[in-house]
Symmetry: C2
Subunit: 138 residues, 2 copies
């Protein structure tokens, strides 16, 4: 019952549904991208992600300083939870917030993963959040 409740509780929050919907359309996102999307503090974002991961709905791929989250593969998800996750994705797809999120994601993830790697190599910040100082201003 613990596992089952962990799943249903994980889905009982608007921000966590937004996270799932975003990952469903984007495939993979790093914490700071999700943070920017939701407009929450880093700690709150991390908490939501850990609740979803704890429930087995998400998995992490750690890559240097970055943590990339994505929806877990069918086989990784416990207690045959895949159907419920897909259900949430399809039901949330038409929600106003989620549609707006998708637009915002286009801007947020305009910086592709490859570019991110280059920026990382150059020592530039991950997200456009944080200080408003672009490269030149340094």
């Amino acid at each position: 019952m613990r596992t089952l409740l962990a799943i249903t509780k994980a889905l009982a929050d608007q921000n966590r549904i937004r996270i799932i919907a975003a990952l469903h359309s984007s495939g993979e996102l790093c914490v700071c991208q999700i943070q920017e999307l939701l407009g929450l503090a880093a700690s709150s974002t991390s908490k939501h992600l850990s609740i979803l991961a704890q429930a087995g709905i998400l998995t992490v791929r750690k890559d240097g300083r970055w943590a990339h989250y994505r929806i877990a593969d069918r086989e990784e998800i416990p207690q045959e939870a895949a159907p419920i996750v897909e259900w949430v994705c399809s039901q949330s797809a038409s929600e106003k917030v989620v549609l707006q999120d998708r637009k915002n994601l286009d801007a947020i993830s305009a910086i592709s993963r490859e570019e991110l790697c280059q920026r990382q190599a150059k020592g530039i910040r991950c997200c456009s959040s944080a200080p408003e100082t672009p490269v030149a201003a340094k």
Copy 2:
């Protein structure tokens, strides 16, 4: 989003999952039977049932003083929630609490609906709860 969240929040509670599982195997139960099953106060039981009904997962059939709850039919359930309800039923079916509940239900609903009507006609209490005084003791 309000509807979607109402559904996921309704499912994010152990007692409400027990209610759904019980109704899934019994078909229909009155409030006091559910109250006896969960061991909660009448007011708490009623609250849980109203949360589930509000989310569109349950429907009520009022019959005299009694209120009989059951899982809503496919067409009545909003936002194509039927799959998620069935998922909860199948996932909870193997849970220890739910298995025990089913045994307890046998005892609780040993008094069949027909018998209940007769008892009602005779002015006997609905449930074995309340005063411990059987018919003869009156």
